[in-house]
């Protein structure tokens, strides 16, 4: 008998509950005609809900409690070990030994008595759990069956349940944000216990690898994130200077000049650029754009042209965000009332004059909003920079130099095996925290600009 079996039994009982309750309601309705308040189906569904929910709630609570109790009990067997983390290690060993055939016994006097205890307790626990859960389900089934009568408002009650479920679902989105903030915040605070905040935010030397050595912990300067931030901003600015003009002029051309046929053909093609996975852009940067720029570097005799230069990553990133700018700016331009445009044209202005002097000023907020959104995309983009930019943190504004970005560092610090407590891994969370807030602020500003501007013309 396993937990899956108990679950199946409970679900089966609940289905049975649906069936008999529906039948009972149908029988009542057959006697009383149209007098019954809810249709048999609603009686069935509400009864099924009543049957299953107490057992599910108890199952969740039980699972939480049993873990805590078992760990506490097992702790007694290893009471000679004072260090809690080592004792936990042994406790885990006991649990693994019983649950997993492949794991090996550990060297401790009480190890096998502990495994025996764990085995028998878990066995008893499972037995007890199945009996209690099934009994509870049966009681709930009988109760829900008894509730059914001609004027029992099953539909209203069931609909309340449905609405509650939807309410909880919508609140879940808030939990995601809270989860992000908390998980980043806790690790970031732990990071700042070993590295002072000002060193992180204003230090100009970034080399997290150094702190692995014991004697290096706390050595000042190795977690100075300024080069990482400047690298991110340099690459994003390069990307924006590629995507900005192309995106803006594409949007102007498509919304003001292009015939409907050209528009219906060109717009989807530009949007295809947005659908291509970023890892593909990264590979494109490595096999095509990189070699191309290197040859240009040799041709123009540029000194110190790095193969991981900011220019390569930035320009490919720029290609990726063209469609964001193009489509958001297009929306902004199209939202300008026709009357403004036609008025200007009627006064004898050419279309380009109308665009630059009437339409763009009128939609300026929207355009700024779209640029900000694209900029936040560029900052948060990971794969292109991971593949095309380097890990070396140089504090430079030279686009031909190799720079690194926040996302590259996070990937570099958190992939591969490492213990979770070192300042090195924790620094990734601090970087992510900064990244999250930076993009959040950019998004909030741009969304509110776009919204405000949209309301202006509605």
């Amino acid at each position: 008998m396993s937990i899956e079996f108990i679950l199946l039994t409970i679900i089966g009982l609940s289905a049975y509950s649906f069936y008999i309750s529906k039948k009972k309601a149908a029988a009542i309705s057959a006697i009383n005609g149209a007098e019954i308040h809810s249709q048999p189906n609603y009686h069935g569904m509400y009864a099924a809900f009543l049957t299953i929910s107490p057992a599910l709630v108890l199952l969740i609570v039980w699972s939480f409690i049993e873990d805590t109790i078992i760990t506490m009990r097992l702790r007694d067997y290893f009471s000679d070990i004072t260090e809690p983390s080592i004792a936990n290690f042994y406790i885990e060993g006991v649990i693994n030994f019983v649950d997993d055939v492949n794991s090996k016994a550990m060297d401790h006097v009480n190890f096998f008595t502990a495994t025996e205890y764990y085995k028998s307790t878990m066995h008893l626990n499972l037995l007890l759990k199945s009996i209690v859960l099934v009994m509870l389900t049966i009681i709930a089934l009988r109760y829900s069956f008894k509730l059914i009568s001609a004027d029992f408002k099953a539909r209203d009650l069931f609909e309340d349940v449905v609405i509650k479920v939807m309410n909880i679902a919508s609140i879940f989105a808030i939990f995601i944000t809270i989860g992000i903030v908390l998980s980043l915040l806790f690790e970031t605070l732990r990071f700042f216990e070993s590295v002072p905040v000002q060193d992180f935010l204003f230090g100009t030397h970034w080399s997290p690898q150094m702190s692995i050595r014991e004697d290096q912990v706390g050595s000042s300067g190795s977690f100075g994130a300024v080069p990482v931030f400047t690298g991110t901003i340099l690459i994003s600015i390069i990307a924006m200077s590629v995507a900005g003009p192309i995106g803006l002029f594409s949007a102007i051309y498509l919304s003001q000049y292009a015939s409907n046929r050209v528009r219906s053909f060109a717009k989807p093609i530009i949007e295809v650029l947005a659908g291509i996975p970023t890892v593909v852009y990264g590979f494109f940067a490595v096999i095509t754009v990189g070699p191309f720029f290197r040859e240009m570097g040799i041709f123009f005799d540029i000194e110190g042209f790095s193969s991981e230069s900011a220019l390569i990553a930035g320009s490919v990133l720029g290609i990726m965000i063209i469609p964001f700018i193009a489509s958001l700016t297009d929306d902004a331009l199209s939202a300008v009332p026709r009357s403004l445009k036609e008025g200007s044209l009627a006064m004898g202005a050419t279309l380009s004059e109308t665009t630059t002097r009437v339409i763009i000023p009128a939609s300026f907020h929207g355009i700024v909003g779209s640029f900000l959104l694209a900029f936040s995309r560029a900052i948060g983009e990971t794969m292109i920079v991971v593949m095309a930019a380097g890990f070396a943190a140089n504090l430079t504004a030279n686009p031909f130099d190799a720079v690194t970005t926040v996302t590259v560092q996070i990937v570099g610090l958190l992939t591969g095996d490492q213990e979770f407590d070192s300042a090195k891994t924790l620094s990734a969370f601090a970087l992510a925290f900064v990244l999250f807030f930076l993009t959040l602020i950019l998004n909030v500003i741009s969304l509110s600009i776009v919204k405000k501007y949209r309301e202006q013309y509605e």
């Binding site: 002029f249 102007i252 093609i269 993009t439």
Partner: protein
């Protein structure tokens, strides 16, 4: 007069700028696709070398060691190669996969005799030379040395070097040997992860959208939820990866590298997209239909589930497919939860360690062997074609099912 002329010229210039911008974007897309497809297409073929196999006793495959027997057969073909170094050069033209293929051949001919030419998988260096990816320079070609080339020339003189369909690429799991590496394991990993992502995000997203659009009172909470969802849609994907790492791996102790965790993380990431798409689909259902339903005595919940939702479904599905397509191409969050391990087995379920297709692309793009370049492109081709089909389905759904009111 002059003024008008220059204004008209400015107008023309402006139009040309716009046209150039659009064409640049299209040309860049063209270059990208062309580069990927022209590099990747050759990976669907693979070099095979013909070996004369002659076994005159009836075969008992359990008694024959395929590795030594294949080498024996090779030596029989080239009796003039006598030194150890020369023999080793001969063997090095073949992939380790050749041994497995020979083993299969023996099993297929159990109890019979073999006499004839059979083709075996060549090593990646030979493969690149045969396809012309590396050219002969002096007496070597790429990593092929003069001794290897000499023997290869003899094979080529007898027309024994052929390109066959690459059966490893689509049907094999990952391997350190480029010629044997395949994306089947990664495709399975992606499949499980996306399945989990869909199961978590679709119901949650649709329920949220219904609640916000139809049931929520306009109050502070619904405002917070709304801005919150809009902002979540713009949170960098790598942050979701860190969320997955902190919550699913560290807090809930779920296994690393498992598609289950990848799927949950991608599901959280897709949720805002689905909510936003579902809301606009629900919004576009005309209120007259709902009012008619309510007028005939439907309750609010009945109206939603019997009328609004079915009518909004095409729009919701379109948005979901687009969200899922995004999730399929997403790499960064999967790196965070450890789906970057080198996995040789094909995962049997969402709890087994696995990679996903985009992660496989990243891993191959990162590996030093040059033979992986064309395979990376080929994997990208598979990914892009699949995404293209998904998007076509979305457009089709929208065209076919969506009603214009």
């Amino acid at each position: 007069m002059n003024n008008i002329l220059s204004r008209n010229n400015a107008e023309k210039r402006f139009k040309v700028y716009g046209f150039l911008a659009v064409s640049t974007a299209i040309v860049l897309l063209g270059i990208l696709l062309f580069k990927i497809f022209s590099t990747g297409i050759s990976a669907f073929n693979q070099s095979y070398i013909g070996v004369k196999i002659e076994i005159n006793n009836s075969i008992n495959s359990s008694e024959i060691d395929p590795r030594t027997e294949l080498r024996q057969q090779l030596r029989n073909m080239f009796p003039e190669l006598t030194t150890r170094a020369e023999k080793r050069t001969l063997y090095s033209l073949f992939s380790t996969g050749a041994t497995y293929e020979f083993e299969d051949l023996l099993k297929a001919n159990e109890g019979k005799t073999i006499n004839g030419y059979y083709y075996f998988l060549a090593s990646d260096d030979v493969d690149m030379y045969v396809k012309g990816t590396v050219k002969r320079e002096g007496d070597s070609a790429g990593r092929l040395m003069s001794g290897q080339l000499k023997i290869l020339d003899q094979f080529e003189e007898q027309n024994l070097v052929e390109l066959h369909i690459n059966k490893y690429l689509l049907a094999g799991a990952d391997s350190r040997e480029p010629e044997m590496a395949g994306i089947k394991g990664a495709i399975y990993g992606t499949f499980y992860a996306i399945l989990i992502a869909f199961i978590t995000s679709f119901p949650l997203g649709v329920l949220t959208a219904i609640y916000l659009e139809k049931l929520a009172k306009k109050n502070r909470l619904s405002d917070i939820i709304e801005t919150n969802i809009n902002n979540l849609a713009a949170v960098p994907s790598i942050v979701f990866g860190l969320l997955g790492l902190a919550i699913f791996l560290n807090f809930f102790d779920l296994p690393r590298s498992a598609p289950l965790v990848g799927g949950l993380t991608l599901g959280l990431m897709t949720l805002p997209t689905i909510v936003i798409a579902a809301r606009s689909a629900i919004k576009s259902v005309p209120p007259s239909i709902e009012e008619a339903a309510i007028g005939l005595g439907s309750s609010k919940v009945q109206t939603i589930f019997n009328f609004t939702l079915p009518l909004a479904m095409p729009g919701i599905l379109t948005g979901t497919i687009i969200g899922i397509a995004q999730a399929i191409g997403e790499t960064a969050p999967l790196l965070m939860i450890g789906m970057v391990a080198f996995v040789v087995d094909i995962p049997g379920g969402p709890m087994d360690p696995a990679t996903a297709l985009p992660v496989q692309i990243y891993l191959w793009a990162d590996s030093p062997e040059r033979a992986f370049v064309e395979r990376t492109s080929a994997a990208i081709m598979v990914l892009l074609i699949f995404l293209f089909l998904l998007n076509i389905t979305a457009v089709y759904l929208r065209k076919k099912l969506e009603k214009k009111w």
